[in-house]
Symmetry: C3
Subunit: 418 residues, 3 copies
């Protein structure tokens, strides 16, 4: 980036008005996309996978984050390791994206072979002066929080991941993600900037008009409303919802299941938020009838009406933990106007498809919802690219988490550009 470009981005960052959507350039500029990949995705903790994707020693998973490719592999000690998927000889990408099983990491180009500890074990023809010890695979920082795998591509990862781990482990523990099994995984490309994907995820103002399936388990008042716009009946319904949230939370916490809201979205590199919220009707699951999709509970808790523990992280993930299954989502930027959203459905490891659960029933709400969200992100991107676009006001009642996301993003850029 030239000095000119740098100055122009700094000035956009400084000019951002709290409470309004970002300047168009943050959604459309290739230069800002490169900055995002370097400063946001290159220096923060990124959710990329779950432990069950590398369940056994030798299980490997290659995840691409922008132009970076990372190998996650479980070694013979049962530890998960992460390395850059770049051979130290001529730089070839060694393993293609996706899951595989390996004994060593072998580059197909000239057969350089690395152990699962990243050390160069085999090579030929390099001469006496070549130092294999200086040619280990480059490690990537990795943390598992309750079985959710976060990586950081920087050599100096933010240390506040420790806070997030300390807070979240007790929330996630009852759901037993580490022992779960992947029932399904789906990739969807949204035709929009990753920040529009995230903003869309951070509000349910759009749910009523757009998500006929998701609004079955979700409560209408669950994600904010303007109290002054309610009539008497609306006020009564809203109050009933608030009472239900309080009562449910007390009941779950009393049963040793952490549920209270924690909001650490801004003011720190590793922004996150969690809260367990009731589900409508039966209270069990994000399904078309709100009943559990899987007969075997995924975690250790017997209460089927466990609502959904949601866990949101910045910059790129969200997760829902219910009594019968778990859904995780990661948003991975592809370009200034394209984002991959990967959704993973997990059930108890002993659950058998067709016996304990029907895959269609398990996945139909979020498959529909994801596609609807992708359509919304696409029209938001088209609008941001229109010269007539200008930042508009977020709703103070229903888009508070969108504002927190935007504020966090601007904070992080300020910090990086300082």
């Amino acid at each position: 980036m030239t000095a000119d470009q740098d100055k122009s981005i700094k000035s956009l960052v400084e000019q951002r008005i709290p409470g309004k959507s970002l300047d168009a350039a943050f959604y459309t500029s290739d230069d800002i996309f490169k900055l995002d990949m370097r400063e946001i995705f290159g220096r923060h903790w990124i959710f990329v996978a779950v432990e069950p994707e590398v369940a056994e020693p030798g299980d490997a998973l290659v995840v691409n984050v922008g132009l970076s490719s990372v190998i996650l592999v479980r070694d013979d000690n049962g530890d998960i390791r992460a390395f850059h998927n770049v051979c130290r000889h001529r730089g070839a990408r060694m393993i293609p994206e996706g899951a595989t099983m390996i004994g060593n990491i072998v580059c197909p180009y000239h057969s350089w072979t690395y152990g699962l500890d990243g050390k160069l074990k085999f090579y030929e023809h390099m001469g006496a002066e070549f130092k294999p010890g200086c040619n280990s695979l480059k490690p990537v920082a990795l943390r598992s929080i309750g079985g959710l795998l976060f990586i950081c591509l920087s050599d100096n990862p933010p240390t506040d991941i420790d806070d997030m781990a300390r807070v979240m482990e007790p929330y996630l523990a009852p759901h037993n993600l580490r022992e779960a099994r992947i029932a399904h995984q789906a990739d969807l490309i949204e035709e929009g900037n990753w920040k529009l994907t995230m903003e869309n995820n951070r509000e349910c103002y759009h749910c009523g008009p757009n998500h006929p399936e998701l609004t079955i388990p979700l409560f209408a008042y669950g994600f904010g409303f303007s109290p002054t716009e309610l009539d008497e009946q609306g006020r009564a319904e809203a109050q009933r919802y608030t009472d239900l949230v309080d009562a449910s939370c007390s009941r779950w916490e009393g049963a040793g299941v952490p549920s209270r809201e924690v909001d650490e979205l801004t003011g720190r590199p590793t922004g996150f938020r969690t809260q367990r919220l009731p589900i409508d009707q039966s209270g069990e699951s994000y399904t078309m009838d709100t009943r559990a999709a899987c007969r075997i509970p995924v975690g250790a808790v017997q209460d089927k009406a466990l609502g959904a523990l949601s866990f949101w992280t910045q910059p790129n993930s969200w997760h829902h933990f219910m009594g019968d299954h778990i859904i995780t989502f990661t948003a991975l930027p592809l370009s200034a106007n394209r984002t991959l959203v990967r959704t993973t459905w997990l059930v108890h490891k002993d659950a058998v498809e067709g016996v304990d659960y029907d895959l269609e029933r398990l996945t139909e709400v979020w498959k529909a919802t994801n596609q609807q969200d992708a359509d919304l992100v696409a029209i938001a991107q088209q609008g941001a690219e229109d010269p007539a676009y200008e930042p508009g006001f977020y709703s103070p009642y229903t888009e508070g988490l969108v504002e927190k996301f935007a504020a966090w993003y601007i904070e992080r850029l300020k910090d990086s550009l300082a």
Copy 2:
């Protein structure tokens, strides 16, 4: 655009040699394409549609011009309004490209709803401080000239559209475009810069070798020739053609049908030219046998041998009005090397397909001609991208209107960059 880029474009503009094709950068550079979209398509009157596309109250048409999207809609008073297709909340594109019918303009994202006057009529959750009056849709300047719809994306549209309207209304009135019906519309993407599309349209030097269908109704001498290159027979034919033009013009004007050439292509923002020219053989229409394709005249004139009134505008349109049908063309840039050409065929509103006209016969000459032109524009673009390209001389006899287009374009850039 950086100061360096700006300076380099200014210098290309200054160096342009009259009488020669433009420097390659004007056809190939992404920076100049952005400049064209901002200064030419962003500040001039652009032909985009015809009134019959929004014939009734509630009829809406979304037209995209570069990254801008514009809603044209006929309101309940019968007036046509134009708005930017960008919600004032989060900026979403509200209506997809093409035709639809609407009562209000509703954003699908969060259901913000605007009246056909652009005013925000419905929204939720925005709080007491939100001012709906400051969140109307942004209007787009719109003019109908004889039923041809021109928009200007600038807040300060060129006022010389009034001159064009005053001159052209009497020419267009006899053809009754406002009451016509769309028989067919076809989009074609030309693999070339929009200026190559326009240059190609502004000469018929290429017609002989390339347009076997179009040269049936067109006269060989109709678009310029070098008088010194003619033999005795050629001179006689050319003279006969000149005499025919004069006689036809006198006859048509005598019958109250304006026909004389008006050329206002340069020296002004809103460049245009018109002239009614005879058609070969029967003199009636641009068809394979020159006979009318539609039994019902489109306008009020009884003379079937009305030739074709052509109307050319800068930067982006051309139109042919015949006794039996009307054809309009708009060129809409997609990128430095791609241009959409949209062709619309119109007939009398009471004409019935299969009874009064055969669609194939109505459209075959220009469908073939458009594809031939697209092929020529593609090879012109390939040539302009070749490092060996250099500006060549335009023919002083057959490419005078190409020169006028290029001169107008350079004038407009000079004005913008001043």
Copy 3:
């Protein structure tokens, strides 16, 4: 390119460490790609075709090199001429890529017509002041070396092509390429920078793990090895190979067939290298059983066990001349991360497919090898684009020619940027 970009590239060129792969930007940057096209492909001798592709007067071949398009045509005197494929009028590309037969060069746009000497012979409507003599087609420098056609797009082509011609004509003469016939030609797009295509071609360190077909005719020790890594048996095999090379070379040279290594890869604009090496088993050809694929020898030499004369040029070609057939390869950059590799198989002009040779058998080794190489180039490109890439050491024993290619490239850029 701005002054800033220029400075940043100069600094990358200066910092290059001999013995290591290039900085990532040389494989990935669009700016450096443009520089490569201007300074490397725009100012050096590029192999593009063989004489049999324009065997007879009127035979024409259009080859695209980057954005440049060049017409090669054999005129009525039997001489091959090369011209830029850009009309001098409006710049149109006159003839599409590929082979054709022509009497004149006619631009389809306005029928301007040039003779096979490039002179403008026919045009209309240009007026008295137009000078046809100033509007000849622009010539392109052309040299045939043993029937291999090299062009240079610069007006000042490197004169050291004379050295290459003087050295190589005697080596190529016995193979009689000028009289050969094209049996097959195949284009393959490699998803990598052209320099990765070239680097891959300049070493066989990757052959063992990747080329099961090619390693049948090739000797395992034929392209370098680390002597200290061999056990006793390995040392004996390597020695037998060295003795075979010496003995074969003496035998061939004794029979008047030039075979000794010449290496002029660095220190000059027109880098090249040649050597005739034995083939394993029968010693005859690059086939699955090492036996000749064609019954009729392509050249004048009776010895069937002629091994393969290889001829490598910089920046973009390699060739193998065997007793029974000839294979030529040219690498033509398409973008920073895409390269076209065109392979041509030639046999004796009297050889009849299905009688004297089987096409599948003739082409199978290199078709398989090319695809394998394309796969390797793709993973090398992916790695170079990864932020974790850093230049790695080339093997001093097996990647010496890769180092020479990289050194030549850096030399040439230094020379251009000086």
